[in-house]
Symmetry: C2
Amino acid sequence: MSRASDRAYAAIRAHLLSGQVKAGEQLTEDQLAQITGVSRTPVREAVRRLEDELLLVRSDTKRLFVADWSRDDIEEMFTLRQMLECHAAERAARRMTRGQVAEMEAVNRELKAAIEQPAPDVARFLDANRAFHDAIIEAAASPRLGQMLARLVEAPVVLRTARTYSTEDLRQSARDHDELIAAFAARDPDWARAVMGSHLRRAFHTFARTVGPATDAEDA
Amino acid sequence: MSRASDRAYAAIRAHLLSGQVKAGEQLTEDQLAQITGVSRTPVREAVRRLEDELLLVRSDTKRLFVADWSRDDIEEMFTLRQMLECHAAERAARRMTRGQVAEMEAVNRELKAAIEQPAPDVARFLDANRAFHDAIIEAAASPRLGQMLARLVEAPVVLRTARTYSTEDLRQSARDHDELIAAFAARDPDWARAVMGSHLRRAFHTFARTVGPATDAEDA
DNA sequence: CGGGAGCGTTTTGTATACAATAACCAGCGC
DNA sequence: GCGCTGGTTATTGTATACAAAACGCTCCCG
């Protein structure tokens, strides 16, 4: 995180989730350079990453805007994530070492610790949650898969920040993780895939509940 | 294709597939700037795209190398592509209009025309093949899915250039396309998914046959 | 003879100036 | 009043110079 483009990336990302900018609003590279305190060159690099993650979009004439995620966009993102991450869980179950399983148990203990407090520490939960899913991707040993998931997950992480989680939602996640770990320990790819599927699909519905109802002409 | 960074992208890509550079070889941005005839700024932009497509990779210290695709890398790529493109076919089957189906029939006629000659025109076949698959992605109406597939498909297109195809392989592809069109016309998502699955899996084996046998215990 | 510190060279990263292109606005003809 | 056209400003794209970092080499010391 020391290079200017990384700092710019983090700063712009923070700026987007700070709520100071609305979806669909135009931004300019100069603006962002001022905000981040670096020149346009690293800003352009950062912007490219954010475009990749679909947090920013460009018009047909290359003007820059804050992306506007519709409910359908979010559903599609969750669907893709589910498809890819189920596959990752399956591969991980075939490859995971005892050491890696122990690692994941430790991460999930941390995750539970973040929940079981007077007031659950959501930021800490999200960090641990992310570490958990990253460990699975790591164990899946598929660089392209990891790359794709990383891009998919970035945007929701931002969108999610404003959300509120019930303690029960968080506990259910922790239980899912326990079962995933069991599936990994048993080296059972089908089990891992199935648990991951329900874990993510539930996450989508939890998420969607706060975003709003489905559009009526929905498919899939 | 008029901006310098686009020209740089195309030029570097052409350079990579020209065979003048070996997998694993180091490249420098200056070199590429000379080759492409533009300055390093657009070259860096082009290089980022090529890194995305995993045709170029950077070392831990940011030095630039030609990617070295192992047999396992290729298999993983095909697996991911199958997963995503089956999903695309399913969605496309739900959404495709009569007009789009007619469009695809036209593309497949062009594809067959490229085959049925004294010597099949492989470049023309590949263009039509690409147009066919692009039309499916278009009909699937999922920007993220399209984006991911575009990235996945880029690399193989390059790797594939050196390959030789038997006329029978090409004809089988055309038949698969016919069946896909039938599935779309029938608006049958399951059928479309199944045909796409076998189409791509066969493509992988056809490809793998020329690359070499599977490694029994591969690591990095 | 081997290992490591120092230093010149190579390569990547950043800032800035300038060029090209797109949006905006005003004035004109109809 | 409406739409077009020309020029003006805003914004992105490119080139270049310089800064920072990494590599490789040599030379010194053990």
